[in-house]
């Protein structure tokens, strides 16, 4: 594959139509690529900036659906190889249509931006927050133990609940989110679509149970309490119980 792109066959920059690409990047606030215009470094910088542009949601700056799906597939592969648990959270703003209809679409945009910031600031740097629909977000948490996942999901929900959103000068509203979560199946090479579907199923449960709720698919660790674990390990298996 690399041979298709090997340097000697790259056309000189002068032969490429770059105006639209450069305009798009300027408009989105990207700085011009470093280096002499037309040089390989400059072209690489241009390509990197275009990749960044096509991976981001313009309103919130979060990863978009395209980037999310790529990350999900990578994560499934990693879980299948390493066995480390990974969590997918499906997040949806409650009654968003009502907010739009009552306060207008600009207000709706403010809500989306505020929720995006709340999510991004509550998770770890290695977690990926994406906007995948109008009012839908996802969070991919690699190497996430089930107990930790429950804590993060609840923290995210509570943060949004207690966050007033400024929708117009002097006017704030409160919003809530519903959260559904599923862990990547650990000993099975599943598919991104199925993993997302399982998380969505939990989101549906959260919505049906009254909204402003977290529903995670049960996992072995969520089923076993700390007390039970303590008693399980009170005796080392190599000691006699008598």
């Amino acid at each position: 594959m690399a041979s298709e792109l090997s340097q000697p066959t790259l056309p000189p920059a002068a032969a490429l139509q770059l105006d639209t690409a450069l305009q798009l990047l300027r408009q989105s606030g990207h700085v011009p690529p470093p280096g002499t215009p037309g040089s390989t470094d400059w072209l690489q910088g241009l390509i990197d900036a275009l990749v960044d542009l096509s991976s981001r949601d313009p309103l919130t700056g979060l990863a978009n659906r395209r980037a999310f799906e790529l990350a999900l597939a990578r994560e499934i592969d990693r879980v299948a190889r390493s066995g480390e648990p990974a969590l997918l959270l499906a997040v949806d703003i409650d009654r968003f249509k009502l907010i739009n209809d009552t306060h207008g679409h600009l207000a709706g945009d403010q809500v989306i931006k505020a929720v995006a910031v709340a999510l991004a600031e509550t998770v770890r740097p290695m977690d990926l927050v994406s906007r995948v629909g109008g009012e839908e977000f996802t969070i991919v948490l690699p190497n996430c133990a089930p107990a930790f996942g429950e804590t993060v999901a609840e923290r995210v929900r509570r943060r949004v609940e207690h966050m007033p959103v400024l929708i117009a000068p002097g006017q704030t509203i409160t919003v809530t989110i519903s959260v559904g979560g599923a862990f990547a199946p650990q000993w099975v090479r599943s598919t991104p679509a199925l993993w997302h579907e399982r998380a969505d199923l939990q989101l549906y449960r959260a919505k049906s149970s009254g909204r402003n709720l977290v529903c995670l698919e049960p996992s072995a660790v969520s089923v076993v309490t700390a007390e039970e674990k303590g008693m399980l390990f009170a005796f080392s298996p190599s000691q006699d119980i008598e």
């Binding site: 650990q186 090479r189 049960p218 076993v224 190599s238 000691q239």
Partner: protein
Amino acid sequence: MSPTPEPPASGAARRARITAVTSGKGGVGKTFCAANLAAALARQGERVLVLDADLGLANLDVVLNLPPRVTLHDVFTGNATLQDAIVPAPGGFSVLLAGSGMVEYSRLTPEVRQQLQRVITAIVPHYTHVLLDTGAGISDVVLYTVSLADQALVVVTPEPTSLTDAYATIKVLATVQQRRAIQIVVNQVRRVGEGRNVQHQLQQVIDRYVNPGLGEPVRLELLGEIPSDGAVRDAVLRRELLLEWQPGAPASVAVAAAATRLRGA
């Protein structure tokens, strides 16, 4: 060469006993146990089918060195008959592979459930024992597969993660499926009697945290303990059934004893 299994006693329309072989954690030897238990049962005169519903990385067909073949997925999509999908394995038992399409059945629509029920109904008159090799964990599809069985058998090793996950599985089976008699096999034990210790350990926690909430208590039955045995790994590498290759190996003897208990239960 294993002897040809005897047909079921004439006149007794005996339907197969269905045992789901499951584990909390992957990698504890669940497929090894299922395959070798099947071979041991066959040697003891039973007619056995193993239905491989395990989506893990070491599938039954790999363990038994079977070439790629027709699976349940092909049957469900109308590309093959059930007869096409049932094949003889080297150990004197039959094998039915669910196929990687089983992942799609994690949706478990009523249609899929019906199809699986129909398969089970079709096969049970022809065997005395059916072993369901389920996936690890407590996902919907694993729990559903276990729900098709008369008896649940949990494979566990004497190691903390395996113990925790096995306990979680037992807890879920007891509460969600109302199972009360759950069998366990303790694999990779390092000393004689370690299996009994593991059973007691699990039973104590169940007695303390699970049974008080139930009308009838959950009782674990130790089907057997299988010693840590280098021959197991060698058999896996050779893609042969340990019970066929080295019937005298400590692990083989232990599996045969477990099979005897399984028949008598």
